[in-house]
């Protein structure tokens, strides 16, 4: 079998408008860990080798480049590392199905406010939270990694649409901020 080269959906492009920067990130491998009923103990044992535990709803845990993000009831995504041997869970590779965008800068939260139907300001959505919600009409997972740093995980098939939505919101916001009344 020939050696195939994996490409990301947006070839790592980036864009700065006003005070926010949008970029595609390569987060490495993404593995879904869906715990079977009664499998929690075995999964906890398997994750111990990475120093991780299953995250609480709406949150993520991180350790040494390995990240575990809550994505549903009894389900989390392991990112950045290969998945260790896990008993008690359905483990599936999701790497090719997702595109991860980073949105950083002081204006990031205002950009997202135009597209996401929930409060993402710092008091309501502190660092270390991860939620499943919508970006306009697309289902996404939004992670907060810093006061002005978000990651948006969307379906790879909708990568360019997500980029377009965010770019439009960034430009509208920059235009508004540049307008004197």
């Amino acid at each position: 079998m020939p050696e195939l080269i994996a490409k990301t959906a947006l070839e790592g492009q980036s864009l700065t408008v006003g005070t926010s920067t949008l970029a595609e990130a390569d987060v490495g491998r993404i593995t879904s860990v869906a715990v079977f009923p009664g499998g929690a103990k075995a999964v906890a044992k398997g994750l111990k080798t990475l120093g991780l535990t299953m995250p609480e709803p709406n949150s993520l845990v991180e350790r040494k480049g390995a990240r575990l993000v809550w994505t549903g009831r009894e389900q989390a995504f392991l990112m950045g590392v290969d998945c260790p041997e896990l008993e008690g869970a359905a483990v599936t590779d999701q790497t090719d199905g997702w595109t991860v965008l980073t949105l950083t800068g002081a204006g990031a939260v205002d950009v997202l406010a135009r597209l996401v139907p929930m409060d993402l300001r710092l008091p309501a959505f502190p660092v270390g939270r991860a939620v499943r919600t919508q970006l306009n009409h697309m289902n996404v997972v939004i992670l907060r990694l810093g006061e002005h740093a978000f990651e948006i995980m969307g379906f790879r098939s909708m990568a360019r649409t997500a980029w377009h939505e965010l770019e439009a919101a960034m430009q509208m916001l920059a235009a508004r901020n540049g307008t004197k009344f």
Binding site: P57, N58, G72, R73, P117, M118, V131, R132, T133, Q134, N139
Partner: protein, 87 residues
């Protein structure tokens, strides 16, 4: 309108999909009389007041929720997950 998902917390109505009355959770047993099936499939109450219905958190945690709300005052009184409920 906002619903408080037991997993995700308070979320906007546009994240949810409405399915129908709580009756869908009470499927008749096999061999139940026809009248019971008729009731299950077709007959619905139209209460003015507290009602229970099923919603799907399609843009969130993908869980079915049993929501208690008041059709007169529009109050949302609570939501519980259908998964894990005692039958």
């Amino acid at each position: 309108m906002r619903l408080t998902c037991p997993l995700c917390g308070e979320r906007d109505r546009r994240e949810f999909y409405y399915y129908g009355a709580e009756d869908y959770l009470h499927r008749p047993a096999e061999g139940a009389p026809l009248a019971e099936w008729d009731n299950y499939l077709h007959l619905r109450d139209n209460p003015a007041g507290v009602t229970k219905d099923l919603w799907y958190h399609e843009a969130g945690c993908s869980q079915w929720l049993l929501v208690t709300r008041n059709t007169v005052t529009h109050e949302v009184l609570g939501a519980e997950m259908v998964a894990g409920r005692a039958k």
